[in-house]
C-alpha cells in the first residue's frame, strides 16, 4: 500500500486533473518528494524557495494539521491520506 494525496483544484493542472494521487514516503517530506516525481512542478507550489511550507497552505495527515505535529517531518503511515488545502478561507 501507499499514501494517498488529495490534490486541491488549483493544483490539478499538475496532476493531469486527478483529485487523488498515490505516492510513497515515510515522512511528509518524502511524500512531497514522491508527489513531485509523479506531478513535476507541484512541490514548488506547496513549498517556498527555502523548502518550507508556504504560509497560505494547510497540510493534513489524515485529520491532523501538520503544524500541530512535526511539520514536514511528520511521520506518514502506510494507507494514510494527506490533504493539501488552501488556507485563505473563512472568517
Amino acid at each position: 500500500m501507499s499514501v494517498q494525496v488529495r490534490i486541491p483544484t488549483i493544483l490539478r493542472p499538475y496532476s493531469g486533473g486527478a483529485a487523488e494521487v498515490d505516492v510513497q514516503g515515510d515522512t511528509l517530506r518524502e511524500v512531497l518528494a514522491s508527489l513531485e516525481s509523479s506531478c513535476p512542478g507541484i512541490s514548488a507550489r506547496v513549498l517556498d524557495d527555502a523548502g518550507q511550507l508556504r504560509r497560505f497552505v494547510n497540510l493534513y495527515v489524515d485529520d491532523d494539521d501538520v503544524r500541530f505535529l512535526e511539520g514536514l517531518d511528520t511521520p506518514v503511515r502506510v494507507g494514510a491520506k494527506v490533504s493539501i488545502i488552501p488556507a485563505v478561507a473563512g472568517g
Binding site: R45, R67, P86, A87, A89, G91
Partner: protein
C-alpha cells in the same frame, strides 16, 4: 499586465474583460499575480489570498451622502455592479456610532465611541460582507450560497439568501450557542452542524466548495465578501464628521475586518474625503484563542495555529486566514494585539451594557476588555479618540452572561413583600 487564467475559472475568457462596478481584477496579495473577477480566492502560483483591485474612481462627500441610507452609499468603492441598493437584499449598514461618555468616564478616557454593528438586520457586521458576496454570487450565476460560520455569518447568509430568493447551505460547529442555531435555522435553508472546531468546518467547506457549484461567501467568493467590511471604516469616518479617529479597537477572528477597516481609512485619505491622520489599529482576541496576539508578542510575521477554548465562539478561529496581514497593519500603524480572559470578556460585556445600554455579544466584550487592558498598560493614551467595534448582539450569546444576570430579588406579588425585600436591596 499579465492576466492569468485561473484553473478554477469556469468562464475565464468571458470574464477577462469584465468590470464589476469600478472593480477590475483579483490580485494576489503575496505575489501580485492577477486574475479576472471570477469565483477564485487563492492564487494558483503561491496559494496567497486574492484581493479586489479597482480602476481609479472619483467619489465625493456629496455623492456619498446623497446615496442610499445603507452601506450601498459606498457602492462605488465596492466590487458590485451599479444599483446594488435596488436589488433584493437586507440593505445593511449605517449602524449607530455611539458616543460612549459614560464608558469613557469609568475607564478614565477622554473620548470613546462604539460602532454598534448589532444594529444590522441580523444583528452583526456579517450582513455587510454577505451583501457584497451575494451581489457577486448573483452575477456569477450561483443559485445556492453557502458558508463556514461561527454563528453570526450563518445568520446573515441564511437571512440574505431568503430575501434574495437563493438556496443556502450553512456549515457550523455543532457546539455553537443554541441562540445562533435557532437564529440560522429559522430562515430555512440547510444547516449542517459539523462535529469539530470552526477550523475543521472551514477545511470541510474548502473541499466542498471545490466539489460543488455553490457560492461559498467566505471561500470562493471571499475576495468580494471581505471588501464589505470596508464599509465599517467608511461609516466611522463619515459619522465622525469626515475625519479619522486616533485609534480603533477591532476584534480579531480571521483578521479580515481589522485589515479592511485600515484599508477603508487609507482609501478615504487617497480620495481626499478625509484629511490624512495616523489612526492606530488595535486587535482584540480571547486568551483561549489568541494565535494572532501570540504572534504579535513573539515578533513573528506568521501565525501558528491553536486549538480554541473560549466563550467568545464568534472569534474562535485557531488558524486565521488574514492573521499575517492583521499583524502587518497593527505594526505599520503603531497599534498592538492583546488578549483577555473569559472572565474579563464577561466583565467587558457587563461594563458596556451598564454604562451605555449596549448589549454586546462576546466579541464586543473582548473589545471592551482589551481596550481597558491597553489603557491600564499605558499602550493606548487616555486622551486618544478611540472607536470600539461592537460586531454583534448579546442576545445571541446569552449563555456567556446568564450566570451573572439574574433577578436582583424575587418576591411574592404583594406590596408589603416587595417593600420588605427592596429595603435590603437599596440599603
Amino acid at each position: 499586465m499579465t492576466v492569468l487564467t485561473h484553473p478554477l475559472s469556469a468562464a475565464g475568457a468571458d470574464l477577462d474583460a469584465a468590470q464589476v462596478g469600478n472593480a477590475r481584477w483579483l490580485a494576489c496579495r503575496e505575489c501580485a499575480a492577477t486574475y479576472p473577477l471570477d469565483a477564485s480566492f487563492a492564487c494558483f502560483e503561491c496559494f496567497g489570498p486574492l484581493e479586489v483591485s479597482y480602476l481609479p474612481v472619483s467619489v465625493t462627500r456629496q455623492s456619498i451622502t446623497s446615496g442610499p441610507a445603507s452601506m450601498w452609499r459606498y457602492q462605488d468603492l465596492l466590487p458590485v455592479e451599479p444599483g446594488a441598493d435596488t436589488r433584493p437584499g437586507l440593505q445593511p449598514g449605517l449602524t449607530p456610532l455611539v458616543r460612549a461618555d459614560n464608558l469613557a468616564r469609568v475607564l478614565g478616557a477622554r473620548a470613546v465611541w462604539v460602532k454598534d454593528d448589532s444594529g444590522n438586520p441580523t444583528h452583526s457586521f456579517k450582513d455587510r460582507v454577505v451583501a457584497v458576496a451575494i451581489e457577486n454570487a448573483r452575477r456569477l450565476g450561483y443559485r445556492t450560497i453557502a458558508c463556514a460560520s461561527t454563528g453570526n455569518l450563518a445568520n446573515a447568509v441564511a437571512a440574505a439568501a431568503a430575501r434574495a430568493g437563493l438556496a443556502s447551505v450553512v456549515f457550523v460547529p455543532s457546539n455553537l450557542e443554541a441562540g445562533k442555531i435557532v437564529t440560522t435555522a429559522v430562515y430555512g435553508g440547510t444547516l449542517v452542524a459539523v462535529d469539530g472546531t470552526y477550523d475543521d468546518v472551514n477545511r470541510l467547506c474548502t473541499e466542498v466548495a471545490a466539489a460543488r457549484g455553490w457560492g461559498f461567501v467566505n471561500v470562493n467568493l471571499r475576495p468580494y465578501y471581505a471588501e464589505g467590511s470596508k464599509t465599517v471604516g467608511f461609516e466611522i469616518a463619515e459619522q465622525l464628521g469626515w475625519r479619522l479617529p486616533d485609534a480603533v479597537v477591532s476584534p480579531v477572528a480571521s483578521g479580515s475586518l481589522l485589515t479592511k477597516v485600515d484599508k477603508a481609512f487609507r482609501e478615504f485619505i487617497a480620495l481626499g474625503l478625509v484629511d490624512s491622520h495616523p489612526t492606530r489599529i488595535f486587535g482584540a482576541q480571547a486568551t483561549g484563542c489568541s494565535p494572532v496576539a501570540q504572534a504579535y508578542r513573539a515578533g513573528h510575521d506568521v501565525v501558528a495555529p491553536v486549538r480554541p477554548d473560549t466563550i467568545a465562539k464568534s472569534l474562535a478561529i485557531g488558524n486565521p486566514a488574514d492573521g499575517p496581514y492583521a499583524l502587518d497593519v497593527v505594526r505599520r500603524t503603531g497599534g498592538a494585539i492583546a488578549d483577555v480572559s473569559d472572565a474579563e470578556i464577561v466583565d467587558g460585556i457587563r461594563l458596556l451594557a451598564q454604562t451605555e445600554g449596549i448589549f454586546a455579544e462576546t466579541a464586543g466584550g473582548v473589545v471592551v476588555a482589551t481596550y481597558r487592558k491597553l489603557l491600564q498598560q499605558g499602550i493606548i493614551d487616555p486622551d486618544a479618540e478611540v472607536v470600539l467595534l461592537n460586531t454583534g448582539d448579546g442576545l445571541k450569546t446569552l449563555d456567556a452572561v446568564q450566570a451573572h444576570c439574574q433577578p436582583t430579588i424575587t418576591v411574592p406579588g404583594s406590596f408589603e413583600a416587595f417593600e420588605a425585600a427592596y429595603q435590603g436591596v437599596s440599603a
